[in-house]
């Protein structure tokens, strides 16, 4: 009998960080208790010519300095501990022998892991990842450049892209770090006066522009200064601002009102377009236009050069629907279809003075003059006249440059200020001397002051002290704590307050650390934590990875697509805010909804496009993230759902017992959606093979619990078919106007490996809730990995347990858990 994988085994394999050597650990002896047990109970299968699962324990050295050997013995430990091995049908060791072997093995492995941590730290030398790099440059300089096209993608380890093992530095990284620094410095340094945009157009003025005029009387009409819009405007004819002339912060003002929507607001999409000609961009916000009065909305946002703002009704009908309704008549004040009255769009910026703070951080208050003027002044000739409305090209040829009367002194002063901020700690004399010399060398070579200084800034921003975390084995010092905390909760470098506290040596005080964490969670930058963490833990980053088949899922639209991840992020945010129990990731009587999601879930009474907390009616089958449409979408492809993928997801993300990858040369289940067999029948075949069953008995049950949800998270009683079926056309309960071909009935329910039966998702959630501490341990582990940038190791197991246990009194509250992670020794040690 072959036993190749079980969840426990796999969990622990993944808990191990196999990277790096274990250099300080001497070769250990196989503890005699283990040797005896292995010999009597393991090597019959795990030995000989064809060892089961390719694991030959008769040959395996007990050399714990070899990460793979270490991993093997951890697997042995965990299999033994979980009672998965020896297999049930084999002769079992006596309880005493098992206990003795386990105890000896545990002690040896823990000692080895601890020794390694002591010598090296549990976190291997780590660089900042792409997101952190971009944020760090932006926040350090006070700019907002996008560096996604320059900085390479990061590898993901243990589920997160900020874990040191996945963050190698290739030659391309080194070259592109320099490019990124150049781009950031370009954005930060003022080389021309501000170019302002003051866009202001009423509905009437907008309607008179270009093609939009053609729609008057067909899909839109003028009502005084207002333009009433009754369709979803196409990309080429839309309400859109001019492009912004430079990157910066802009103020946006919109005045509009819903029409013919009864007592409901109309959700309006505000979109940032890449350029006028590339309308694809991203949704900035959803605004609910009031039905009874004009709504005034003011927002501030960062826009890149050439971006614009576009507004559109999320759910307005298309041209054909309006034409049908009008039956050839013009659209006038008698029209009763929904729409919105657009009054005003204003876009102003960039905000802030000149030179911008980003420039001042690099060049202080040194006067700025056109290069030609500086040259003339130096030569003692009359300076050229600089016209008011100079062209972009002229400014490029003859930019503003900062002027210093004493380059050496000014440069040294500015570098002394800049270095500790950029490198996130006070700099030692050697480092300071190095950069001062670098600057001086350039001056000596004849670089102009500003060029020499800029080169030096670039060198600093491309240096290992910039792109590595500076953590040394043992307890972290204050600066390292500040950096860990800041990158954990803000994904960026520490701000002034953290830096000041670190300088005073305050951050190692638990109360101070706690206050700071509270402050940081209350800051808007903590949204980066919410997005980054849920994006990876719950895989929301994959929300766009597949497109639902339009033939089967015609009810899917972009508004639903936008709403899905919002629900989950806002749910996480709400839990964090109110310290809700981690158990609510599994089940709750509330969630975050807007009208679109509420329609999708069949919940009445939710009006408007903005998401808010909604109490769920009984029997909604919703509550907890497992039943979020977002999660059900990222765990499916566009056509079919797979209990295997969803089951694996639940084990990995919620329970914390990920299955091992399928063993080599075992053929995968090839889905068959032709309708003859259900997925349960297909999987039953798989389960009949013992080597598959050992994992699938864990994987399949949660998958089948979720089988009641389709690929876009809708509730289903039957599968949809793409062609005519005997079942005929059936209406969708939440979309009565839509009918689909009825396929086979969905089979849900199953039995857990512990023999507990469940009939549906509600039962299954109840079973999961029986061990809340396990759910909390799982999340503690995920948070610890994300917070420290290292996978959880053998010696960290107790740490994870203790972090989780300490939140018991707080009912396993999420915010408490975040605090416990931050206060844990694992967080405060390299």
């Amino acid at each position: 009998m072959k036993h190749t994988c079980t969840p426990t085994l796999a969990l622990l394999t993944s808990l191990l960080s196999l990277s790096g050597a274990f250099p300080t650990i001497a070769r250990a002896q196989v503890p005699s208790e283990i040797a005896a047990l292995v010999k009597s109970h393991c090597v019959d299968c795990h030995g000989g010519k064809k060892p089961a699962a390719g694991l030959d324990l008769s040959q395996r050295q007990f050399d714990l300095s070899d990460p793979r050997a270490f991993g093997t013995w951890v697997r042995v430990h965990d299999q033994l501990a979980a009672g998965e091995m020896p297999p049930p049908d084999a002769e079992q060791p006596s309880p005493d022998a098992r206990r003795a072997a386990l105890g000896a093995l545990h002690q040896t492995l823990r000692a080895a892991s601890l020794a390694q941590q002591k010598a090296e730290g549990r976190v291997a030398l780590r660089r900042i990842n792409r997101t952190q790099h971009e944020n760090t440059l932006n926040d350090l300089l006070g700019i907002s450049v996008k560096l996604g096209d320059v900085l390479p993608d990061d590898g993901s380890v243990a589920g997160f892209d900020n874990v040191s093992e996945g963050l190698d530095v290739s030659s391309a990284h080194l070259v592109r770090y320099q490019e990124a620094a150049d781009l950031a410095l370009d954005a930060a340094i003022a080389t021309r006066p501000l170019k302002q945009l003051a866009y202001r157009r009423t509905g009437k003025e907008t309607a008179q522009r270009g093609g939009l005029r053609e729609f008057l009387g067909k899909f839109t009409r003028l009502d005084g200064d207002r333009l009433n819009v009754h369709i979803q405007l196409p990309n080429h004819l839309s309400i859109q601002s001019d492009e912004v002339p430079m990157t910066g912060r802009y103020r946006l003002k919109i005045v509009a009102q819903a029409i013919n929507t009864g007592d409901r607001p109309l959700p309006l999409e505000v979109r940032i377009t890449k350029t006028v000609h590339h309308p694809e961009g991203r949704t900035l916000a959803t605004l609910d236009l009031p039905f009874d009065r004009p709504g005034l909305f003011e927002l501030e946002t960062v826009l890149d050069k050439q971006n614009g703002i576009r507004i559109n009704g999320w759910q307005l009908p298309g041209e054909n629907a309006v034409r049908e309704r009008l039956k050839g008549k013009p659209l006038d004040e008698t029209y009763t279809g929904p729409g919105f009255a657009f009054e005003l769009l204003e876009l102003e910026g960039p905000l802030g003075g000149f030179p911008p703070p980003s420039h001042q951080r690099l060049f202080g208050d040194l006067p700025l003059k056109p290069a030609s003027v500086v040259k003339a002044e130096r030569a003692g000739t009359p300076p050229p006249k600089i016209p008011e409305n100079r062209s972009d090209d002229d400014w490029r040829r003859d930019p503003l440059i900062p002027v210093s009367t004493d380059p050496r002194v000014d440069g040294q002063r500015l570098l002394r200020e800049f270095l500790p901020r950029a490198l996130r700690r006070p700099v030692d004399d050697a480092t300071l001397a190095y950069y001062l010399a670098f600057f001086q060398e350039r001056l000596d070579k004849g670089y102009e002051f500003h060029t020499a200084l800029r080169s030096t800034y670039k060198a600093i921003l491309s240096s290992p002290r910039f792109f590595y975390f500076d953590e040394r084995p043992g307890s972290l010092d204050d600066q390292a704590i500040a950096a860990r905390l800041s990158y954990f909760l803000w994904s960026t470098l520490p701000d002034d307050e953290l830096t000041a506290l670190a300088a005073k040596g305050e951050l190692r005080k638990p109360a101070v650390l706690r206050t700071q964490a509270e402050r940081m969670l209350g800051d808007p930058r903590s949204q980066r934590f919410v997005e980054d963490f849920t994006g990876q833990w719950l895989e929301l980053r994959k929300i766009n990875a597949t497109t639902p088949d339009p033939n089967l899922y015609g009810e899917f639209d972009v508004f639903l697509m936008w709403s899905m991840p919002q629900e989950t992020q806002m749910y996480f945010r709400e839990m964090l805010q109110h310290d809700r129990s981690v158990a609510e990731f599994v089940h709750s009587d509330w969630t975050m909804l807007n009208s679109r999601l509420a329609q999708h879930y069949g919940i009445d009474g939710v009006k408007g496009g903005e998401l808010r907390r909604v109490t769920l009616p009984p029997a909604s089958h919703r509550g907890g993230v497992l039943t979020h449409a977002s999660i059900l979408k990222v765990t499916a492809n566009g056509t079919t759902t797979s209990p295997i993928l969803r089951g694996k997801w639940v084990l990995e993300k919620i329970i914390g017992t990920p299955p091992a990858p399928p063993p080599p040369n075992v053929s995968a289940v090839e889905p068959d959606i032709r309708g003859a067999t259900t997925i349960r029948q297909q999987l039953a075949k798989h389960q009949a093979i013992a080597s598959c069953a050992s994992c699938h008995k864990h994987i399949d049950p949660p998958g089948f619990a979720l089988e009641s949800f389709d690929v876009i998270g809708g509730w289903r009683e039957f599968y949809r078919a793409s062609n005519a079926t005997k079942g005929g056309l059936a209406p969708l309960s939440n979309y009565p106007e839509r009918k689909v071909w009825r396929g086979l009935d969905v089979e849900v329910g199953g039995t857990t490996p512990q023999g507990r039966e469940f009939k549906n998702i509600d039962d299954y959630k109840a079973l999961l809730l029986e061990d809340q501490e396990q759910l909390t341990r799982n999340l503690a582990r995920q948070l610890l990995v994300f917070a420290t940038g290292a996978d959880v190791q053998f010696a960290d197991r107790e740490a994870v347990q203790s972090i989780a246990a300490r939140t018991r009194e707080r009912n396993y509250g999420l915010r408490s858990l975040v605090h416990e992670v931050i206060q844990s020794p694992a967080f405060l040690t390299k």
């Binding site: 990277s19 790096g20 250099p23 030398l125 590898g155 694809e280 190095y434 497109t547 075992v666």
Partner: protein, 424 residues
């Protein structure tokens, strides 16, 4: 692994280089750092390599023929390449042995890292060098770019560090074909020199940092030192070329929408052709990414979804439409290479093109029986070469053969157990 001495120029290459009598000083070329001399020899017969990877496999019933040899019957996809019959070989029954049927196996596609490493999951594949980077070490000093990766390429250096590619065709076009103004070139020279000094500082700091760290971290810093050396070489090569005008080509890349996948892919192939034709590089790695919607008659589901067809005939048909369009692009690419002559050969004769996927059947995520096509490159092509579909032959054995064709003396690569001899 390739033995270290493969950095030496092999005698065989020299002799094969047209039977030219090689003067004694050239023997210096046998030293690892004999750059100039090596270049002269390689110039006699440039050898080029193009690796094209796709993530979603190929529907193999429409690819693999039944009959072996040059007389294979044209399958639905091979029919599209009939113009080039005899100039390419399709292999069935190749794979990296012992890879799990899992997602992350593409990381081993061009490195052939061991199945054991792969089985540790994507977290801990200690990867090894990829085919393109190894080839570039040998032929890359000759051209403006040692190698070009376009897209999320599966390239890895000697330390197993992933080498990222260029993100899009526009960037590639600018780097290859667009000259800066004299001012910009002057700034570029300064930038490259500054870059070198900055790398000096990077090295110095890396050494400083190592003092306070444990052995494992010092090992990581050692990897960094390798990257620093590579980056220096890169900048030095850039500097050597910065004043030479770039070739001018009558081409203007454009941006495509997501669903214009075929057009985007064609543009990438066009640029690869131009890069080879202008000898801007001799090694190219191209990652053809496609996942979402594809604008094609009769296709209304996404590519990823079509590849997970679940045996549904209508879905397989949609998948086939997408894949046919892709094979047409590949066919056009081969036609262009063949239509470009260089000396007495066509560019295709001097360019080995490998089309590969890490999935044999995307619907089952299986990693056996990979779709593998090798075209051009001066091989004695054999039509359809079939190995055991149950007990596959290591794909790395083909890689050894390809390296040798590049003039690199290789006995072993990845997990090779020998060398494929079916194509001469």
């Amino acid at each position: 692994m390739i033995p270290l001495n493969t950095r030496l120029l092999s005698r065989r290459t020299m002799l094969r280089a047209g039977g030219v009598a090689i003067a004694l000083p050239l023997l210096d070329a046998m030293l690892p750092l004999g750059l100039g001399a090596e270049a002269k020899v390689a110039k006699l017969v440039p050898r080029r390599m193009v690796l094209i990877s796709r993530t979603l496999g190929v529907h193999s019933p429409f690819l693999f023929p039944e009959r072996v040899g040059l007389d294979y019957e044209s399958t639905r996809y091979l029919k599209l390449l009939d113009d080039h019959r005899g100039r390419f070989t399709v292999f069935s029954g190749l794979s990296h042995l012992d890879y799990p049927n899992a997602h992350h196996t593409e990381e081993g596609l061009f490195t052939g890292v061991s199945g054991e490493a792969m089985h540790h999951g994507s977290t801990n594949i200690r990867n090894t060098i990829s085919l393109d980077i190894l080839a570039a070490e040998h032929v890359g000093r000759e051209t403006r770019f040692p190698c070009i990766g376009l897209g999320e390429v599966l390239s890895y250096n000697r330390k197993g560090v992933r080498v990222p590619g260029l993100r899009n065709a526009g960037t590639m076009f600018r780097q290859l074909f667009v000259d800066g103004t004299p001012d910009e070139v002057a700034r570029e020279v300064q930038r490259l020199r500054d870059g070198q000094s900055i790398l000096d500082g990077v090295r110095q700091q890396a050494r400083d940092l190592a003092r306070n760290l444990g052995a494992g971290d010092r090992q990581r810093l050692d990897t960094l030192l390798t990257s620093i050396r590579e980056a220096e070489a890169r900048l030095a090569q850039d500097e050597a070329w910065v004043n030479k005008p770039k070739p001018k080509v009558p081409y203007q890349p454009r941006e495509f929408r997501e669903e214009e996948m075929i057009e985007r892919s064609r543009q990438c192939h066009d640029l690869v052709h131009l890069a080879l034709q202008t000898d801007s590089t001799r090694v190219v790695n191209l990652y053809v990414f496609s996942n979402g919607p594809v604008k094609l008659e009769g296709v209304n589901i996404g590519h990823h979804d079509a590849s997970h067809h679940g045996q549904d005939a209508a879905r397989i048909e949609q998948l086939a439409k997408i894949e046919e369009a892709e094979f047409r692009v590949f066919n056009e690419f081969l036609t262009k290479l063949r239509g470009t002559s260089e000396g007495n050969d066509s560019l295709l004769d001097r360019t080995m093109v490998l089309l590969a996927s890490n999935l044999g059947n995307a619907s089952a995520h299986s990693t056996q029986n990979l779709p593998i096509i090798v075209a051009g490159g001066g091989f004695k092509h054999a039509g359809h070469v079939m190995y055991d579909r149950e007990k596959n032959r290591p794909l790395s054995n083909l890689y050894v053969r390809m390296l040798r064709q590049m003039g690199i003396e290789a006995d072993k690569f990845g997990t090779s157990t020998g060398v494929i001899s079916d194509i001469g």
